[in-house]
Symmetry: D2
Subunit: 268 residues, 4 copies
Amino acid sequence: MAAVTEFLNRNKGNIIYLDQHVDRQEKLFYMRVEWELDGFVIPREKIAEYFGTLVAGRFDITFWLHFSDKPPRMAVFVSKLSHCLFDIVARYTAGEWDVEIPLIISNHEKLAPVAQRFGIDFEYLPITKENKAEQEQKELQLLKDYDIDFVVLARYMQVLSDDFVKHYPNKIINIHHSFLPAFAGAKPYHAAHARGVKIIGATSHYVTPELDAGPIIAQDVARISHIDTVNSLMRKGRDLEKIILSEAVYKHLERKILVYNNRTVVFN
Amino acid sequence: MAAVTEFLNRNKGNIIYLDQHVDRQEKLFYMRVEWELDGFVIPREKIAEYFGTLVAGRFDITFWLHFSDKPPRMAVFVSKLSHCLFDIVARYTAGEWDVEIPLIISNHEKLAPVAQRFGIDFEYLPITKENKAEQEQKELQLLKDYDIDFVVLARYMQVLSDDFVKHYPNKIINIHHSFLPAFAGAKPYHAAHARGVKIIGATSHYVTPELDAGPIIAQDVARISHIDTVNSLMRKGRDLEKIILSEAVYKHLERKILVYNNRTVVFN
Amino acid sequence: MAAVTEFLNRNKGNIIYLDQHVDRQEKLFYMRVEWELDGFVIPREKIAEYFGTLVAGRFDITFWLHFSDKPPRMAVFVSKLSHCLFDIVARYTAGEWDVEIPLIISNHEKLAPVAQRFGIDFEYLPITKENKAEQEQKELQLLKDYDIDFVVLARYMQVLSDDFVKHYPNKIINIHHSFLPAFAGAKPYHAAHARGVKIIGATSHYVTPELDAGPIIAQDVARISHIDTVNSLMRKGRDLEKIILSEAVYKHLERKILVYNNRTVVFN
Amino acid sequence: MAAVTEFLNRNKGNIIYLDQHVDRQEKLFYMRVEWELDGFVIPREKIAEYFGTLVAGRFDITFWLHFSDKPPRMAVFVSKLSHCLFDIVARYTAGEWDVEIPLIISNHEKLAPVAQRFGIDFEYLPITKENKAEQEQKELQLLKDYDIDFVVLARYMQVLSDDFVKHYPNKIINIHHSFLPAFAGAKPYHAAHARGVKIIGATSHYVTPELDAGPIIAQDVARISHIDTVNSLMRKGRDLEKIILSEAVYKHLERKILVYNNRTVVFN
């Protein structure tokens, strides 16, 4: 930490955020630092090189450098359920997030009017067993064409192929409608009701090739009782899902998530 | 419901509690009614017979009849951890619960002084693979000798045999230190830490032959973060465990739990 | 309860929901019953009269009769903040609620585009000290013209006059951005931050002439810490506000809220 | 921060914990650092002097130095309710906390047997309007005689005088049975029931001369409904009270609480 702060101080970088975490078990040190470029001695295009040579190289540090004046570009994948999509575009429209959302991709046509209402391009790419590989190629091309930085699966009811996932490591955020690792896979509310749990949950996580097993970003829960039906679980769950998916998007946009060993450090 | 309330009204039983639940999916009706015996026309030893003939038989009702003037007798099984036991005896000593606790059974000697401090008999029955069947027989004999109605496993670190469990159907309450069905089995805090969840939980449930799969009575959760270690999960989890185990005991003592199809109806 | 269920049974009304609550302290009995009109002997326009004479009159019952085939009509009042409004129109558009929302009224023009996007009429009625009484008259006229049944204040930053409130008793739902009764009045997040609380909240309630003192319908909370600023409280609070306001609207639409003595019974 | 860590590094102090917080609004920097004395160059009795001169003096730092090899000594004040006391002595007996508890003071005799059971001295000092000043002098003398570092009010139903409080600034921890600042003062559960809130709470805080207005350390809440009576609020509240009081004691013992401007920084 001393080396990093010294590097910034020496080059007249005014630190405006600093947080760190020591994982004694894994013997790892995590750090997130934000500073102003006004008056910083090193030109922006040289920062990565200088920091890499003078600091990261000496201490075996893996680092990511982001500039906050260019908002990241995000694509949303949806199917038929609108609650997560509405929550996202509402925040986007209200200017809550520093992001660009130029593209919505869906395997159903149902939510096209939502996209239209908010002036976002909508691409309809229905998926069957037969055309899946082909359609995913089109999706990847679209993401490239739109210069997309990361993808949000807003209750997108298709499993992405390993190949697709590998194009966006720790850059695809999914919402799973259960308290993972409980009830991974299909129909978690039905499973929760059948098991008779007294609390349900929702989990946002980065997508990895293994289904519902990626690094968890955020989780939330709601109390239920014997009075609840599968339908009322779905109703209550929708609120958990949209809030905790948007929380994950927010933390991702703030670049406050570090991933290591399938677990996340999420800074405040 | 009309038949039950009519039966009570006609025989001058003053209803002081009534709650009901309709499970439309299972097509079941659950009901709990409490009334005063003062002035009730039917003598207490005849109530079950009359109700059985005049009401239950007509409507295919399964019923349990309890008299609240005789507190149930409870045995506590423990190993080395004291927090759940302390929570139980503290409530017992304070008179919070309408219960008798004459017996504590343990496979370790460590908590004998706690039992002694609170004037409760303590039986030390260490368990090995070889002597398990034999020791369980002694435990069952003790439960019989002490006229025990139900058993609470307060972080008892032994799996009860199927045979033992069958002697006390829906009468053995366990606390599992995870949010079931996530992390069933051994070392749930280690598993939760390894998976990187953001919320931990505890679950109290009736014991059935299948491990950690019995009807859930109550669950609680606590938020954690990347800062937490396995040790801090254990520390935070202890509070969840003791509160949610005692909640289950309280509901059991109030006879507010009905079990059907491995799920519970827990009345308010 | 027997009298009500008997009245329905005798007239061939198939009960599909029944919940009740006894308040022993106030000596009050609350009940909500829902039945099908198919096959019901009494014609719909005569139900209130017959029930009033044959049941309510005999037992000193106050009752409300609603028909679920006509969705209630709701108006939303807003100012500049969009999160609650978006949450409401998203649910409306998705068909989550059985309601008509023909009208949005605002003292600012800012959210007109949201109304337009969702095809809802938007009336701009700016309020000053001088014109308040006059503008409220126009609002009341609009509510009448649009045949509005109840009003939702979705972060509407004007205090309604007593006169206005009296036109819609228990029919105006407000969201207050604190855990009432803590931090009633203006700037609750600033007050919460200054006091150094560790949990913030939001409260939805019916509006009464006394500010922030009406019957509470729903409340929710979020944990915070010393790291939080007033801005982060606002950010976290927005999620609480929109969810708990919509929860109140949902319960109101389901007619599951009964008000007595400035408190609510909210059925499941 | 650099100055502090440099001071420790230069003198061979192995840092095992470091956390910091910047309050931009108040322009304050908070820091907590823990290091090993093995191999530390400065002798323990000189650390405060050297640190004061070489670091604190230069940067206008207020600092506290604690040695963790001497557990703090704590006194518990109680009245008639036992749940918080039991929770404290259970943790103490289990060795959960690094503390000595040699003394319990009470204005009632009721809990003397609890103290006796756990081998803790019990002093009975009944308080009336007339003898209050005199009895508080005796209490202060007892705290001195027992070499007490801090005091925990475990549902002690007497208001301490300003004079008493001033002897132990930020060293008296109280539990208030409401979600402060809501329902300060007497009978908060009655007040919560009368107001019809949907969530109740408990608050642990340092005692200051102004009643229930000291710096908040921890808060917790529980959902309630119209079904709850004042008695059931008390029952549910007891669990909140004991857990959140013990949480405050734990953080105090860990010296993880810093107080400034009537607010707390509570490190993880």
